[in-house]
Structures are given as C-alpha cells and as structure tokens.
C-alpha cells in the first residue's frame, strides 16, 4: 500500500469559526431592518437612494479593487451606510457619486479593505456635503402619500433639483438650533421625524447594535463611551442652561448619533484595536458631537466628529498598547534619578 498524500501546513490546525466575509455580511443583515424602517417612513425614495449609493460603492470595488473583494461585503456596507445618512429627497446621481467617491477615494486608493484611515461611508458623505450643501440638507416633511417620491430623486446629473415649496420639513436638531423648538422624545425613539433615512429610528438601531455586540462583531466600548460622554456633557450643559441646551435624551436620539455611534464609529478598520483606545476614541467622538451641535455652525456633528477621531486611531493604538506579560512598568523619572 502506498502512503497517502499528506498535507503540510502551519499550526494552529484548528481555527475559530468567524471569517471576515461572515462578519461583513452579518453587519449587512442587521442593516436590513433599519433600511426597512427607512422605507416604512419615507416610501420608495428611501430604497432608491440606498440602491444608488450601494451601486456607486460597488463599482470602484469591482473595477479598481483587488480581485474577488466584491464578495467580502465591505463595499455593500459602505453603500448602505452612506445611503442611510442621506435625505430621502436627494437626486439619485448624487447618492451614486457619494458611494463611488467613498469607496474609490476613501478605501481603494489606500490599498483596499483594511488599509483606509477614514470611514469610507462618512468620507463619501463629507464629499457630498461639500459638493452639494443644499440637497443634502433639504429634508422632506413626514407624512403624506407613502408612494410619493420625497423630492426630485430623478434629477439629471449636474442639474439643480427642483425644491417644491411646502414639501420640506426640518430635522429635530435643525428645529432646535435654528427655531428653538423641541421635538417629542417618543417620535425620536421611533423615528417618525424628519431627517436622513437612517437617522430616525433610534431604538431599532440600538437593538441591531446589541446583537452585533453580542456576536463580538463590534466593540461595545465605543458606543458605550460615546453615549456616556454625550449624556454627561450635555447633561451638565442642560443643568446650567435648560433653555439653551437640550437634555441628554434628545441628544442621544436625534440626528445621526445612534447610527454613527453603532455602525460607523465601530467600523473595525477605522477604530482602535485596544480596549482603552476604544474608550478614548468614543469619548472624543461624544465630546466633539456635543461641541459641534451646541456651538458649531452646523446642526449635526456626528460625521465630522467620527472622521476627526479616525485620524487619531493609529496614535491612540500606539499609546494604549497593553503592558506585555512579565514586562516591568516603564520606570518613573524619579526612580531613574535615584538610580
């Protein structure tokens, strides 16, 4: 009997069950209910925007990325997340362009998956915010015919979309900032307010986040740290001047904070790898969100807060590396002076 052909590979020969595509596609799966909620609130426009953004994200991944990376699901996440940050009435070509820019210039040019510094979805949105400041801040009013498009979705590229008077609403944050009107907390929790597609249903996002945290597909310390910082900081401000500064609950459930804290700040590639790093990273985001919302020129600051903190991730990782087993703590200057 001849000997069997034997394989030779490196240890360990047993591997854990997770894989990168599984993580990515699980995240996509948890986004489905959130997308469904956006369709429930905003009608077919929501689906069209998401679709355009995903298509825009997939295109550069397919043609400029490495072979076979389309299947890892990361570009789909970028597209869906970008779509969720856009208002439902936006022209589709802009959403498409945002997705394209996010993946092409936010990810591919850095070397593809795992190499980028900034969250690609947010980079795409930042690009849209800079290029088309008006359409990206034009919010349709809630209610009305479910089937009706919420704006000029089919505007041709490079043409100004028509803004129909009377069909626009304001987001809770906008209302607060510019008109000093507050919104009902109940509406905020469920999401029946004006805003971007995924900015509205806080409770649902929170539930999906809990599931991902349980699967260890996101580091719960990041959203926990963001929420804590926002609650403490805005709570103190609210105590100082309740008229001018809204309470913590409003801060948590308005705008893009939920979506940003749970889905964007926790993007594995662009967040710290150490646990203390995650706490610092989250605290930085929470602090900046409150600062921008309260004293900045914009009503919403989650996007810039996350992008800003993304830039610090390599630094945070370096300064928060754990003490190696058995290593002595770095000697204090006084101890060195004595020696």
């Amino acid at each position: 009997m001849s000997d069997p052909k034997l394989r030779i590979s490196a240890s360990p020969y047993l591997l854990g069950g997770d894989s990168t595509p599984r993580i990515m596609w699980t995240v996509v799966a948890t986004l489905v209910p959130i997308v469904a909620a956006s369709v429930w609130f905003f009608g077919p426009s929501a689906l069209l925007i998401q679709g355009a953004a995903v298509l825009g994200a997939l295109l550069p991944e397919r043609f400029a990325g490495r072979r076979g990376t389309l299947g890892d699901g990361s570009a789909v996440i970028t597209g869906v997340l970008l779509g969720l940050t856009l208002p439902p009435g936006m022209p589709l070509w802009m959403a498409f362009l945002g997705g394209f820019f996010g993946v092409a210039f936010g990810k591919i040019i850095f070397g593809g998956l795992g190499q980028n510094v900034f969250n690609p979805a947010l980079l795409g949105r930042a690009f849209l915010q800079a290029a088309f400041p008006v359409p990206i801040t034009t919010w349709p009013a809630t209610g009305g015919d479910w089937w009706a498009l919420r704006g000029d979705n089919f505007a041709l590229p490079l043409m100004s979309p028509q803004v129909v008077d009377g069909s626009t609403g304001a987001t809770p944050l906008g209302l607060h900032k510019f008109e000093n009107t507050s919104s009902e907390i109940g509406d905020l929790l469920i999401g029946s307010t004006s805003g971007s597609l995924g900015e509205t249903c806080g409770v649902l996002i929170l539930l999906c986040g809990l599931f991902l945290a349980w699967k260890n597909y996101l580091n719960w310390r990041i959203p926990a740290s963001i929420f804590l910082t926002v609650i403490v900081f805005s709570g103190v401000l609210n105590l100082v001047d309740g008229e001018r500064y809204p309470g913590p609950l409003f801060m948590l459930f308005s705008g893009g904070l939920m979506l940003g804290a749970i889905y964007m700040a926790t993007d594995m590639v662009t967040s710290p790898t150490t646990h203390p790093g995650c706490w610092i990273f989250g605290a930085g985001i929470g602090f900046l969100v409150v600062v921008i919302r309260m004293w900045g020129g914009l009503p919403e600051g989650v996007m810039y807060a996350i992008l800003f903190m993304n830039a610090f991730v390599p630094f945070i990782n370096r300064v928060t590396r754990p003490r190696v087993f058995g290593a002595r703590k770095p000697p204090t200057p006084s101890a060195e002076a004595k020696a």
């Binding site: 394989r7 894989s19 993580i23 190696v324 290593a327």
Partner: protein
C-alpha cells in the same frame, strides 16, 4: 471546589478529547525497526557510542550526553544497530539517528540492573541519575529534566508547579497518566522536591478532567504537601507562564524563567517518568502517547518505544481513514505537520493527531480588518496585528522592539483571526530568521 483563573485572554478551541479520554493506555507490539535521533532534546545532541552491527539491549545507552544541557539516548528495543545515518526528524529536518533492527524473537525484557534506592541519594546524585536516565520534558519542548532540577545557587526555589492542564485539544496523554499512574506522579514529585529542597507542590489540572483530579486527590500521600488545583478550561492554560499565573499568581518577568520567581514547572507525564526510572531502573525508552483525530480509525492512548515510526503507531490504531489528510506531531494548536510516515516518535512527542480532508483543507485568507480580536486573545498581551504587518514586511528588528521574544507561538491569534492570517506562523518565521542572524529570541 473553586476554579481559579488568574490568567487573562486566551481562547476556547473545541476540546475534542472525547475520542480518547476514556481509552485505557495500552502497549503496542514492538515494531520491526526503531529510529533514535541523537537530537531529541533542547541542548547539545548526544554523542553516539555504538557502531553498525553492535548488539544492543533494551535500556542500553547508545549515545552519551554531550555536556550539562544534554541527555543520553538509550536503545528502546533489543536488536542490532543497522546503521547510523540521517533520518526524518519531526521538526521537518533530517537528523543523525541510530537505526536498530528489532530482534523479532526477543522477549524485550531488560537485563537485570541495580536500582538505587532514591531515599539514600542526595540531591546531586539524584540529578545525575535523572540525567543518566535520559529524562526530558515530555510535554513537547523536551527540555532536559535534570537542568530544571539544578538551578544556580543564587536562585531560591520555593515551589514546584506540576502541569496537568493538557490544554491542547485532542491530547489525553497527561490525562490518562494522572488517571492510571497517579502514584507515580506523586513519587516523582517527591523526588523532584528532594532535588530542589522544596516542601511545597501545586498541581494545576483543567476542570475537564474530573477523573484525573479525583485520582490525584485520592492517592495524594498525607505526608506530601501537594495541592491539587482545578483550573478553568482555556487555551493556553498549560503554557508555563500562564500556569504559574493561574495557580500561584506570580508573573515570570519578561525574558526570564520560572526559576527567577522561585518556581520549577514540570509536566505530570515527565514527573511520572522520574518515578519510573527509580522504580524499574529502566531509563526513558518508552512513553505514553495519544494517537487520535478524525483521520485515524481507532484513536487510542498507547505506550510506545521511543523511536517507533509513525506508520507503526498508526497501524496500532487501526490505520489511517480514507480521508486522512494531515498528520501532526504534538497538539493541533502548536504541533508540526509531518511529511513522512517514517518519522520517529521522540521522547518529547506528546501526541499524534491525524486530521481529515475537511479539517485540513486550506481556507481563504482576507486582508486584516483591524478587528482587534488577536489582541483580546493574546495571553501575553502583545499586539499581534501590528507584529503581523511588520512580519509580512520582514521588519524583524522592529518586531523585537515590539516584544517578539515574549511570543510563545501558542497560536491564539491565528485561531481567532477572521481573516485567517497565519500570524503565529509569521512570528515563527521571524524568530527563525532572527536566530539565524544570531539574535536571541
């Protein structure tokens, strides 16, 4: 019964010990040939004493220790030396080995020899006897036992820690040793403690071996201060540093040895062999070995002569299954895949695991997504993600600055990596390359 767990991180691979956990240890028939490499231990290879054509008896010394950090090699079967040549070594290389044609008609009964009464010997004589017995650590690293038992005079040892964790999946060698030969473990411990002048011993056993804990407790002599500590099941609980942390909460300093904090660690199977040489007078010529995995027909715990070739060991277990694909010596987390069935079992081979096609088929790798799971898994708190990217760029000196030498290649990082980046393999390659340049890692 409390469970201690003071070491953090680590992973929980499937245990897979049920294949052999209840199998009684049995002897295999003597093979037709044994291959005894001169390098079976850490330190200088032994110096050969025999020539082709010489008759040797089981237990005869065929190669002598070459210096202090070295042990002799003994004939594991009665027969005739056929040749002294290079033979496949489990580490993947070829090494000088003595090949013995085993006498088919021999009863394999060793000639009568004087068995010294260990009680009459002092520490120095005991250590010398243990070295002459060819004893090495049987847990895998094969570090000469007598070296551990003779610490430099400036190192004060106050504790013996016995390793009964056997945290590698599949393996049940230590488990069965504790169940079937607990008295030997206790006697070996006593001898060790005499060598070191220590009066306190602790045994760490993972909780998935309740019968071993039971047997060790039931047989513990009343005049021996030995504490049996059940531990949480976790890999790599049996790594020396992790075990010390878990059972007595001391931390081995980076780059240091357990003796620096007053501890000597020995695996239970090795301790049992210390007792064996003083019971039978026979040096280390055979060992207990788990042969298991889904690629072998009848997984078993065996006593095999050192130098038995893989093919004879596998044959004693019903042979390979049709879908056997990869044969590992050692455990599945840190062991080494073997290319030839002619590779011999060494003193330090703790198990043979045969994986089937499904388990061994290669899996797709992806780019690192910086999920940080490897940092959460690393039992020595390294940053494997960062080390891995340095390693792929062959920036080995930078890896040293990031504590590469602390890495023990346990494989936890590779195990959890969702992108299946072979991190521990990258570190192993880096270490080998640095060693080649004369760097101590």
């Amino acid at each position: 019964m409390s469970t201690r767990e003071f070491f953090r991180h680590g992973v929980h691979p499937p245990e897979l010990k049920e294949l052999t956990a209840a199998e009684r240890i049995r002897r295999i028939p003597f093979p037709a040939q044994v291959v005894l490499p001169l390098r079976q231990h850490i330190g200088a290879p032994a110096e050969v004493l025999v020539r082709p054509g010489d008759r040797v008896e089981r237990g005869d010394k065929i190669a002598a220790a070459n210096g202090f950090v070295s042990v002799p090699v003994h004939a594991s079967a009665t027969g005739v030396v056929r040749e002294i040549s290079r033979a496949p070594h489990p580490d993947g290389s070829y090494a000088e080995a003595v090949r013995i044609d085993v006498d088919a008609h021999s009863a394999q009964v060793p000639r009568a020899r004087m068995i010294p009464d260990w009680r009459g010997l002092d520490a120095k004589q005991l250590v010398a006897a243990i070295q002459e017995g060819g004893l090495v650590g049987l847990g895998g690293a094969a570090f000469p036992t007598h070296v551990k038992l003779s610490p430099p005079p400036d190192q004060k040892i106050d504790m013996v820690v016995l390793n009964g964790c056997e945290c590698e999946p599949y393996l049940t060698t230590d488990h069965r040793t504790m169940v079937e030969y607990p008295e030997r473990v206790h006697l070996g411990t006593r001898i060790m403690m005499t060598c070191l002048g220590v009066d306190k011993a602790v045994v760490g056993i993972e909780r998935n071996k309740p019968d071993a804990i039971e047997a060790m407790r039931a047989t513990a002599p009343s005049d021996l201060d030995i504490d049996i500590v059940p531990l949480t099941v976790k890999y790599p609980q049996g790594a020396e540093k992790m075990l010390i942390k878990a059972v007595i909460d001391r931390e081995v300093p980076e780059g240091g040895l357990p003796m620096n904090i007053g501890v000597v660690v020995q695996n239970v199977a090795s301790v049992a062999t210390i007792a064996e040489i003083f019971e039978t007078g026979l040096p280390l010529v055979e060992r207990i070995l788990t042969v298991t995995g889904h690629g072998v027909r009848k997984p078993r715990n065996l006593i095999v002569p050192v130098g038995t070739m893989l093919r004879d060991v596998v044959a004693a277990c019903g042979g390979l299954s049709d879908d056997a694909a990869e044969i590992i010596m050692g455990g599945p987390m840190m062991g080494l895949a073997q290319s030839s069935l002619d590779t011999p079992i060494l003193k330090g081979t703790s198990g043979v695991v045969v994986l089937n096609e499904e388990q061994a088929s290669p899996r797709a790798t992806y780019p690192c997504i910086r999920c940080g799971h490897c940092l959460d898994a690393c039992p020595v708190f390294l940053d494997p993600q960062h080390l891995g990217s340095l390693g792929l760029n062959q920036e080995y000196p930078s890896m040293m600055e990031h504590h590469l030498s602390t890495c023990m290649l346990c494989g936890c990082c590779s195990y959890v990596c969702p992108s299946r980046i072979p991190l521990s393999h990258i570190f192993g390659v880096a270490k080998a390359s640095l060693r080649g340049q004369g760097v101590k890692v």
